[in-house]
């Protein structure tokens, strides 16, 4: 029979309470951080938002000298660079995920999977410096002249490819972003494809379907939610990416119809101008840009997470 030491038990109980409340406060701190981000940005952006009102998001002007600021050029640049990135990275990511789950010889599956994931670990400033010194000259010399020459004269579409080949600009930023988000999209899609029960696929093959038919008619419909979730996770990254874009976009606060021209994005404007901003209104306008970025990325990432969680739950039930 053990002798119950009441003092020992009391001490244990106190330690238990301390530990338990420590873990709870740490967990609540995570909630507070997100709330704090929203409130502090709103607070910092308030002078600009109350001064310019709704026109802050509808005006293209960005003039520190006359203290007139509008976010339209930055919003436009953010949307267009991310759209280019998604246009390039989604099909490529789909292809890689397809290759890894259906085609790849088992021996190569892990090394290639790991290589793609390592690409995701490379910090964004490395993509920036690489984009500026390697990718931009290549695009300027080989790709952009071709686009201007061949696609430029096409009515409608041609407007996107007018003007001189700068090298740096919206298109280059989009390409760098595409390379950056590719591993996220590929890895998420691969994980999603892996959740498709083998029996479903085998049934397709058993009916005589080709590999592509099984993928398009069985795997894709089954993992639709996850595919969209993975795409939106990549989109969230692309929208908020800062350093890589800052290097190659050219930082011009204007909207050009040509994607070869320099532009700006929300994050690159903040990165470039924040420490040099003089005047309360200038700083506040940059924080207001940050608030916009926060709202946009929060919505996209939250939607992506909600979709992926739904898939996880469904996969959990199926097993």
């Amino acid at each position: 029979m053990a002798i119950i030491d009441s003092r020992h038990a009391a001490k244990q109980l106190i330690l238990e309470r301390i530990f338990r409340s420590a873990t709870l406060s740490a967990a609540i701190l995570v909630l507070l951080i997100l709330g704090g981000v929203a409130i502090s940005l709103l607070h910092g952006a308030w002078p600009a938002l109350s001064h310019f009102g709704f026109s802050f998001v509808t005006r293209e002007i960005w003039n520190p000298v006359t203290d007139e600021f509008g976010a339209l050029a930055a919003i436009y640049g953010t949307v267009v660079t991310s759209a280019i990135a998604m246009l390039l990275a989604v099909p490529a990511g789909f292809g890689i995920a397809l290759f890894l789950t259906e085609l790849c010889p088992p021996l190569l599956k892990r090394p290639i999977g790991v290589a793609v994931e390592l690409l995701a670990a490379v910090p964004s400033i490395i993509f920036g410096i690489w984009g500026l010194f390697v990718l931009a000259p290549v695009l300027q010399r080989h790709v952009q002249p071709w686009l201007i020459h061949h696609v430029g004269p096409v009515p409608g579409l041609g407007h996107l490819f007018k003007g001189p080949p700068f090298g740096i600009g919206v298109l280059t930023a989009g390409v760098v972003l595409a390379i950056m988000v590719l591993p996220f999209i590929a890895a998420t899609m691969r994980d999603v494809f892996d959740t498709v029960p083998a029996m479903l696929k085998e049934s397709g093959y058993g009916l005589g379907a080709t590999t592509w038919e099984v993928i398009w008619n069985v795997v894709v419909p089954h993992s639709r939610v996850g595919i969209v979730g993975g795409m939106m996770l990549g989109l969230g990254r692309a929208l908020g990416e800062t350093m890589a874009v800052t290097f190659v976009i050219g930082n011009a606060h204007r909207i050009s119809s040509s994607i070869l021209a320099p532009g700006t994005t929300i994050s690159s404007s903040i990165a470039n101008e924040f420490t040099e901003a003089v005047g309360a209104l200038y700083t506040s306008s940059l924080i207001a840009l940050g608030l916009l970025l926060f709202l946009i990325t929060f919505t996209v990432i939250a939607a992506a997470q909600a979709m992926l969680h739904r898939l996880e739950r469904r996969a959990g039930v199926a097993i």
């Binding site: 244990q12 502090s40 490529a92 400033i125």
Partner: protein, 284 residues
Amino acid sequence: MSRRARRKLKNAVFLFLSMVATTTGLVCLAAILWTLLSRGIAGMSASVFTQMTPPPGGEGGLLNAIYGSAVMTVLGILIGSPIGVLAGTHLAEYGRNSRLSVAIRFINDVLLSAPSIIIGLFIYQIVVVRLGHFSAIVGALALAVLAIPVTLRTTEDMLNLVPPGMKDSSAALGAYPWRTIVSVLYPAARSGIVTGLLLAIARISGETAPLLFTALNNQFWSTDLNAPMANLPMVIFQFALSPYKNWQDLAWAGALIITVTILVLSISARVLLALLQTDRGGAR
């Protein structure tokens, strides 16, 4: 063309495109690594590790920047990871299915992919504005906020992997939950939690955007945590965009140092995790 031939052709075309996509991805990775290696090694010399950042055209190295990055990364991990580990413990052990935990898990996943520049602005707003100046400790604080979601997520996942029998045995011996967690679950999940720490270090050591408005940069040697401090990402940013050849060379050397560090960290995290999994597999 017969229907069968058309189907086979379509299949071949798409499978070919998928291989092209994979090759493109691998070529991009190879191209980036190749440029980093060739230009980084060209800019590398002993003085990179022994001298301070130089003025344009002068001789110098990256010592102050390497030191600053190391200090801020370590501080960031020291501040951020205990919070992440404790919060992860709460989610895995105490409040597994509570409504609060569901919300925290969701918010944490959002923070995990939130743009780091936003975190920088947040810390600027709540700390730098009040202090009135940039400093290394504030930079570390911004990095800590970025480290929390990574450690939280891995801690929760790893604690969930511990066989429930271990927890039950400890509870059956009359241990309070905290005793079970500290003496049984943490040791059992140790390599998993270390993996999370490695991933967090890899995540924050290359971050630039949050340091722009917190730690800023410093041309000189400084150990004062209350003053702006040099750091590799900011030096790379400044030097790469400069027109000076010696600054650009140093930027490439710095880029190589950061990338090698991060790749080594990520690969060790992966190896650790693989070892953990084979351990588990063997035990069963």
